[in-house]
Assembly symmetry: C2
Homo-oligomer: 189 residues x 2
DNA sequence: CCGAGTGCCTATAAACTTTAGGCAAAAGTA
DNA sequence: TACTTTTGCCTAAAGTTTATAGGCACTCGG
């Protein structure tokens, strides 16, 4: 009886793939076990429970997305950094809808604080260094960018833009222009 | 044996309350039946299945939110309309986190087209009538506002802003100022 | 007051979650 | 190599949820 070679890491990775295929909320311990030709109970040596699996996938997705964003940011600044970073988000959500949904999972505060979510905020703040947003507004600007990126990508993923005419890609490009201009000429308080 | 007086409407309403209490993804046919002191099977006379329940709650939340937004918009224009509308979203998500999560449920295209989601987009477009955004950019501006509102509220709900210093309320007010200014002086293409 | 319809019931089956305990393969030790 | 320890996946089993089918009794129109 050859062993399947399970581990928390392999289960998380396979869970992320499963999420992309069937949707994050369809990810179950049973379905994941089926994918490894193994009984569901066997997974409980590696996972505490079903919620633990979901949290692991969420952390995995957050880290993967942060890695891609960091790579895109390397060597860029200003508008170039802004669009590169933004496109990483949008592309990730389009390529990996299940993982992107996972990254939105509500984490308890200490888990969130130890997650790659922190890196995301740091990277947005790094982008702002290419602009002259005055210090007291920096955090506000970080939140503006983060909210816009997430909101746009999430609405697009949920079909919010599918009915009206201009392609989502076109709005995206135009709005990144607008935001770039806004950051360059940030209004004083 | 006194009847519980179930109906799709009462179940949807109670499902929305349940969502606010325990989270939208914890809403199950079983839990809802328990709340009415009724067997789960009884609900299937009123609901097709578990997914049907979730869709009904989502449509209920979308409509309720649209009603509140419409009420807030009445008699207002420009910046006044913008902030009133935005605050309806934020307040709704804070008062009714489960319903707000429900409103994000992915609907199939024809259901979405028949939902109150359409009214949301129309109202944002109405707000823009108080500004001089040139026609070709109107849809982009609608998407900017929609993305920002949803993204901010959703990140705040998921604890994304809880660690860093400025209160989420403060950023919100400042960013609405910024967006108002942006809309007033929308850059030409 | 009676007949018809429908509202909630019981019974049942299948899928998923989770715990407990067992056996055999893998890894460590002499 | 042989023996022990560890660990990985198993079976068994109980509890929960979803969903269907069929039945009884309450309610309402006549």
């Amino acid at each position: 009886m050859v062993r399947a070679g399970l581990s928390a890491e392999r289960l998380t990775q396979a869970g992320a793939e499963l999420a992309d295929e069937v949707g994050f909320d369809q990810v179950t311990v049973s379905a994941l076990a089926r994918r490894f030709d193994v009984k569901a109970a066997s997974l409980y040596s590696h996972l505490r429970n079903s919620q633990d699996l979901k949290v692991r996938i969420a952390l995995f997705a957050l880290a993967e997305l942060a890695d891609r964003a960091a790579a895109a940011l390397a060597g860029r600044a200003g508008r170039d950094a802004l669009t590169a970073f933004a496109n990483v988000y949008r592309d990730y959500a389009r390529e990996h809808p299940g993982r992107y949904a996972a990254a939105q999972l509500r984490l308890d505060p200490e888990t969130a604080a130890a997650s790659a979510g922190v890196r995301h905020a740091e990277m947005v703040r790094a982008i702002l260094r290419g602009y002259d947003v005055p210090e007291p507004d920096q955090t506000h600007a970080v939140r503006l960018l983060g909210s816009f990126f997430h909101g746009y990508v999430s609405l697009e993923a949920n079909g919010g833009f599918s009915h009206s005419a201009p392609e989502a890609r076109e709005s995206w490009a135009r709005l990144l222009d607008i935001l770039d201009a806004l950051l360059r000429t940030w209004p004083a308080s």
